[in-house]
Every structure is written in C-alpha cells, then in structure tokens.
C-alpha cells in the first residue's frame, strides 16, 4: 500500500471521532505512519464534522486537499455530498443511508438534496458510490449507537488490515460490555458491502 487518504464525515454526535480513532490505531498496529485531524470545539455541536486521516509510509501534511481523497466514509448523506470536491478520480464513497436534516431544512427554508443529487455530485468528482443501509442494519442489531463501527466494517473491505487487528483495537478502545455488539456490527458492515459487491 503506497498511501491512502480518507475523509470521514458526519454530524457532530454521530461518533466520527471515535471511528477515526479506531481506524488510526489499526493503521498504526499494521506498521504505517498515520496522521489524523478532527473537527473539535464549538463546531462539534450538531454541526458538520470531518476527520482527515492519512495512512502511508511517511507523511507530511495531516490535511487532505481537494481532489486528493481515496476513500470517503460518510455517516450522513448531505455530509457526503458536501465533501465531494475532495474526492479523487477513481475513489470510493461509502455512504450511510442516513438523513439528519439541518435546522434550515427542518424549518422549511432550504431543501435537503435528493439521493440522485447526492450520487451525481459524488460520481461527478469521479467516485464509485456505495450506499449502505447503516441505520437499518444497526437497528436490526438492536443498537443504533453501533453505526460508526458498522461503517468501519464496511470500510475494512477496502483496506489491507487483517480482521484480528481491527478486533484487537476495538477491544482496547471500547468499554468491555459493548465490545461484543460492536464486533457484531463490524462484521455486519463488512458483510453488507461484500453482498453488494457480488
């Protein structure tokens, strides 16, 4: 693996930072250089959040520029579309089928983009688009809070890290009582992507 630039996007409170922490640790365990930077502070309060995460042999900048992202992992559809200019030709976007309307949409002042609009933007910037029914899958597992780890499972199909290393980091990072459900979620996300591929 030469180097991979990832953007993880969502809405404050969706677990973007925890998911990116786990991914960064897994990359480190696999012996790579890692640089990662999150949205913190005021912007976290229900606002648009993004994590820049780079994995490679030796990296300089922690930030990813426009047209430089290999993989976009989006926990919310509008937040996938918003970051589309950062996608590279030949990239992949894994998007959770989740809508969190911004306040202006709730108040009827702006319109939430249609699925077609979102896919057109992502594809327009040269990305393969995989929409994953994340909320439904998490609901079936009986815990909506596992969505972030479920998305990591989906992402894992595009990265050369063995399952044992993901498992090890998830066990280290999460409280013992929620480890099992999160491992299940991880496998569920992974299988959901593999099903789509066949």
């Amino acid at each position: 693996m030469h180097s991979v630039n990832l953007l993880i996007t969502g809405v404050g409170g969706q677990g973007v930072v925890l998911a990116s922490d786990i991914l960064a640790e897994v990359a480190l365990v696999n012996g790579y250089d890692v640089k990662k930077t999150d949205t913190l502070g005021m912007a976290q309060r229900g606002g648009s959040v993004v994590t820049n995460l780079r994995i490679g042999e030796k990296l300089a900048s922690p930030l990813i520029g426009e047209g430089e992202t290999d993989i976009l992992l989006a926990f919310e559809k509008l937040e996938a579309a918003r970051w589309s200019p950062y996608l590279k030709q030949g990239s992949v976007s894994i998007v959770s089928n989740q809508v969190v309307p911004p306040l202006t949409v709730s108040l009827g002042k702006e319109n939430y983009p249609s699925d077609d609009d979102i896919v057109r933007l992502l594809q327009g910037f040269g990305s393969e688009v995989i929409i994953l029914d994340g909320p439904q899958l998490a609901w079936e597992l009986g815990n909506s809070k596992v969505l972030n780890v479920l998305m990591l499972g989906a992402l894992s199909t595009r990265l050369p890290f063995p399952f044992e290393n993901w498992q090890k980091v998830i066990e280290e990072r999460l409280p013992t009582k929620i480890v099992d459900i999160n491992i299940k979620a991880f496998i569920c996300g992974k299988e959901a992507i593999l099903r789509k591929a066949t």
Partner: protein, 603 residues
C-alpha cells in the same frame, strides 16, 4: 514505545517526562487537552485555574519556588495572561517555566485570529514551534533547559493542526526519579520588580536575547534539508509540513526555534538557493525579520495572511504564483452550483441544552425587533464566549454582542451609561462568570447600574469539553472541592436581587426574566440546569402525537435539532431528543408527550 498522540497529548507527555511538578491552565480550544492529560498524573499538581492570568501567576510562583512548571492556554488566553507574562520576562525564573500558546488559525472555535508569535518579540522571550506530535514531545525537555539556562520563560507556540492532529510519537524517555524539592531563595533584586530592579533587569533581558540569538545558530531544532537549489523554503510549525508535502524536491530551512532567529544560518541558506520563500501561516512574522536582514524573500505576496493554511491551499497559491504547473479541477467548474445549493449545517445548541429556554424567552420578549432606522427596540442582550454564543444564530437570534470572555456585563453597563433607553440583559456562563465576570459585576453594582445579569449555570465548562471549575465541586484531578454558590457570591458583591431559577421550567423562567428586566435595580438571575451533553441518556425522549399536532411551529422556534418538520407535521428524532420537555411545555394542543405514552397508545 510508539503511540498515536495529538500534539496536546504529546506536549503533556513531554512536560511530564521533563519533570514538571506543577501545571496550570484555563480551558480553551485548541489548548484544553494539555492540562486534561497532565491531570491524570497523580505525582504532579495540575489545576484548572479560574482564568489564564491566575493560571500564569500560579505557574510563576511554582517556578520561583524552583520547580519546573507548565502553563497552557489558547491564543486569546495569553491576552488575559499578558500582564504576568510580561512581568515574568522581567523577573526571569528559577525552575524552568514553559508557556504553551495554542493559536487557532482559521478561527475554528475562537472570537478572532491572532499570531501569538509576536508575543515572543514583545516579551523578549525565546519561542519554539513544533510541527507535529513527535517534535512537541521532543522539544519539551529542551524548552525547560533553555528556560533555566537563560533565566527566561520559554514560549512553545502550537496551532490547531499541531495540537489537534494525531501523529505517531516514539516515547523514548522517562520521568526523572529524583527531582529538586521546592525551595524559595530570596533575591530582592530579581523577584521584586520595583523600578530600580526592573530597569536593570530590562537590560538583562536584552542581553539574554543576544545570547539566545547566538544559541539559535547551533540549536538542533534549526536545520537545513538540502534538496534542489532552485527553490529554498524557510518554514516553521505546521506550515513546514504543508510545504514539505507540496515541494518535496525543494531545499528547506526548518526553524524549530523561531525566535530569536538564527540570522547567520538564514544568510547561509539564502546564498545556497536561487529563489527564497517563506511559508508561514497567518502573519509575515519570519518574512519581515528576514527582509529586515536585507535578504530578498517572498512569502505573503502569495501565501494568504489570514485563515488556516493547508497543503491544498498552498498548492493552489503556488500554482497561481508559477511555482507549480497549473492543474484544473474540471468537475468543480461543472458542479459548483450544485455544491452551492447544499444546505449549510452550522453548529447549534444541543437538544436538551439548558440555555435554550432562556434564549427562547429572550428572543420573544417584549418588543425585540428593529425600528425603522435599524435600531433595536426591545432589550439589548450582551453576551460573550461559550456554547451560548450560538444563540446569536437564527431562529433564536437572542445575542447581540460577543467580544471576549466576560465582556457582556461591562458592555451592558457601558450602554446604560451611554444613555441607551433599551432594557439591558448581560448573559454569561458559569465558568465565564468565574473567569472574568465577578469584577465586572462588582463594578456594575459600584456604579449604580440597573442592568439584568443572567448567569447560565450548567455546572461545567461545556464548550471546551466539560472541564471542572470552582462551581462544580471537583478539581481538575478529580478531588472533591468547594462548589461556589453563585447567588451568594452575587449577594456578597452587593446585589440585593439575586436568585436562581430552573432552566427547564418555561413558566417560572419567563416570570423570572420579566421581573428581572422590569426591576429598577440590578438583578442577577442564575438559570440552573445541567449541560445536556452530561445529562444525556438519563431522560426519556419525547414524541409528537401526529393527530393532535396543528403545525403551529411554536416548538420549532426553539431551534432544537431533535425537532424536525416531517412531510406534514413536526416530528421528534428520539435519538437526538434529551427529554428536556421545553417543547412539551410550549405545545398548546398538548401533542408532545414522553415516549412511554406512545407505547401506551400502541398497546
């Protein structure tokens, strides 16, 4: 041992391994996690101080007592602490003193952008600038050695992308097992900044800077990376990494110690390369000093002077300036309109936030609307820094000013004394009130004011991630402590009308606000309710009984993210709802109920 650490975690690790005994700070993005991490070590004293000035004075005392000490703050925090900072430059130190200033280029979570590197010139102190977490960790012991050797505070300047980026760190040191005990050796000519002493020490500070400039020439933090002679780049801090990313072939002069400058080294480097540029974030701090040396150098002629720098931005401006070949982002030109049309998502007060009810009432209070000439007819609401500043956004639109920590009380008083006829309400958070509101309140009482001061008491420092303060009952290190009674504190400042009201009881809150605003005397109203981000998951969410909802939209005007307009009627997102019941209290058709009532309906 290799670990993935944020710059702030690395600074904390580095300071701990450098043998600090005391650390003090006031929370502020992007500096907060430094003290949070230090607080975990039980063999040092780490404290949240009431404000940055106090934190600095605590650190100064500890270093006078001969122990290594760290004080950390955000960029604007150093403005608050500027008085003791300047004084520390005059008196010098005993134990090493490192001052961490974390700047916020791009204003992610601040009231302004400022380049605190100028403080190093202003205060005549040396400055180190790490570019990543490894450097932050490695610089720390050196920073203390410089401080002790040259008898000066040392500034370590970080920025958001250093403090908050996680990078790999080789943790290859340990904390010394034997550290000097605290001893105070009296030295009147040093520690007592009487004019006669200060005059002499001012000259010593100038001599110190000359010695430090000599030291900078051979300091291991300043080094040349030889690449192509066509382009030479001088850079420090995070800008160095952006430049390395974009110009991998160029020659570099990396300045880890960026004040005072190693002028001979810079002169040598300039001679080695054909074109010399400085890549720096914010102000032309290095560039102007290098130009003053008589060298030809470019920098701010194409690198922006405000906003956060990034590798992507640097590539764009380098292309425009002919340093790199042009590339075209064709999709961007085609899809720009679609991108423009995407709804924005600014930050909001959280669902269940104890500030929402108060601002909802203020936003609808009396005649809060503009006159024909644009003047405000209703109450003017002066505020300051905290989550509650978000109430300035529509639909609440209930904050009219925000300048700096604690400013609202003084501003309201100033407006009153200017003769403004509007009712005046100063709104301030509990942590902010204890940071810099008490003296302003005392001043308002002393100067016979009749403003209303609302203290939003959520018993935490919420915006920076829930740090303890003197009102919470716990220290930074988790020890039980006294919890100040804000009502009693206000009374002791001479406020006769000070009382507390629940943040979640709309009727009581409305009455209390009305009484306070109409009271001809100064009133302090403490609005008490736990921060939603702490109280979360304890309370049952609400739902909207669709048959009963008349779509009046009153609940939506709370600006709560959990309330969402569905296809026809309003709905509540049960995952986001914290069950604060504000919307239920406002719903006249009684369509909003706790979730268990729905289960009853379905059964």
């Amino acid at each position: 041992m290799k670990k993935l650490l944020s710059g702030n975690e690395a600074i904390a690790y580095g300071a701990y391994h450098a043998g600090i005994r005391v650390a003090a700070a006031y929370p502020g993005t992007p500096s907060t996690e430094i003290l949070e991490n230090l607080a975990r070590y039980k063999d040092i004293h780490a404290q949240w101080s009431t404000n940055e000035k106090v934190a600095f004075e605590v650190a100064l005392g500890a270093c006078y007592a001969g122990v290594r000490t760290l004080v950390s703050m955000k960029h604007v925090g150093l403005n608050v602490a500027a008085d003791p900072f300047m004084a520390a430059s005059v008196t010098g130190v005993r134990g090493g003193l490192v001052v961490v200033s974390a700047d916020d280029p791009g204003i992610h979570s601040s009231q302004g952008e400022q380049d605190n590197r100028y403080y190093a010139i202003f205060a005549k102190v040396p400055m180190l600038e790490p570019s990543d977490s490894q450097e932050a960790y490695d610089m720390m012991p050196l920073a203390f050695e410089i401080s002790e050797r040259f008898d000066t505070p040392v500034m370590l300047r970080s920025t958001t992308r250093v403090s908050h980026a996680k990078t790999v760190v080789d943790i290859n040191r340990e904390r010394p097992s034997k550290l000097p005990e605290a001893v105070f050796r009296r030295e009147m000519s040093k520690f007592v900044a009487l004019p006669v002493n200060a005059r002499r020490r001012q000259l010593l500070a100038l001599q110190r800077m000359e010695k430090l400039a000599e030291y900078a020439e051979s300091c291991s933090l300043n080094y040349i990376i030889r690449g192509s002679q066509e382009l030479g780049i001088i850079a420090s801090g995070i800008a160095f990494n952006y430049a390395r990313e974009i110009f991998p072939e160029a020659s570099f002069l990396k300045l880890g110690m960026s004040y005072p400058l190693p002028k001979k080294l810079i002169g040598c480097f300039a001679q080695e390369v054909k074109r010399l540029i400085v890549v720096e974030e914010l102000e032309p701090f290095l560039e102007e000093q290098i130009k003053a040396m008589g060298l030809t150098v470019e920098g701010k002629s194409f690198v922006p002077r405000s906003g956060e720098l990034s590798s992507g931005l640097l590539r764009t401006v380098a292309q425009k300036n002919g340093l790199l070949p042009l590339t075209e982002n064709k999709p961007l030109a085609l899809l720009a309109d679609d991108l423009q049309n995407l709804p924005k998502r600014p930050p909001l007060l959280c669902p269940g936030c104890p500030h929402t009810g108060l601002f909802f009432i203020l936003s609808s209070y009396g005649l809060r609307k503009g006159g024909a000439d644009g003047s405000e007819l209703g109450p003017v609401i002066t505020g300051d820094i905290g989550c509650y500043t978000l109430a300035a956004y529509p639909c609440l639109s209930a904050m009219d000013t925000c300048a700096c920590m604690g400013a609202g009380i003084g501003e309201a008083l100033g407006m009153e004394k200017a003769g403004l006829k509007n009712k005046l309400v100063a709104v301030i958070g509990d942590s902010t009130f204890l940071h810099s509101g008490i003296t302003s309140l005392l001043n308002a009482v002393y100067n016979k004011s009749s403003i209303t001061v609302v203290v939003l008491d959520n018993r935490t420092t919420a915006m920076t991630g829930h740090q303890q303060h003197p009102g919470t009952g716990f220290t930074a290190q988790g020890e039980p402590a006294m919890a100040v009674d804000i009502v009693a504190l206000a009374k002791s400042c001479g406020v006769a009308n000070a009382s507390e009201v629940s943040a979640f009881d709309i009727r009581a809150l409305r009455m209390a606000v009305k009484e306070a605003i109409n009271n001809p005397e100064l009133v302090v109203l403490v609005v008490r309710g736990d921060c939603a981000a702490i109280a979360r998951k304890k309370i049952e969410p609400m739902f909207v009984e669709q048959e009963k909802c008349v779509n009046c939209g009153v609940c939506l005007s709370l600006g709560c993210a959990a309330l969402q307009k569905g296809n026809q009627k309003t709905q509540i997102n049960a995952q986001l709802c914290n069950g604060c019941t504000l919307c239920q209290q406002l719903c006249s058709p009684q369509a909003i109920k706790p979730l268990h009532a729905q289960e009853g309906l379905n059964a």
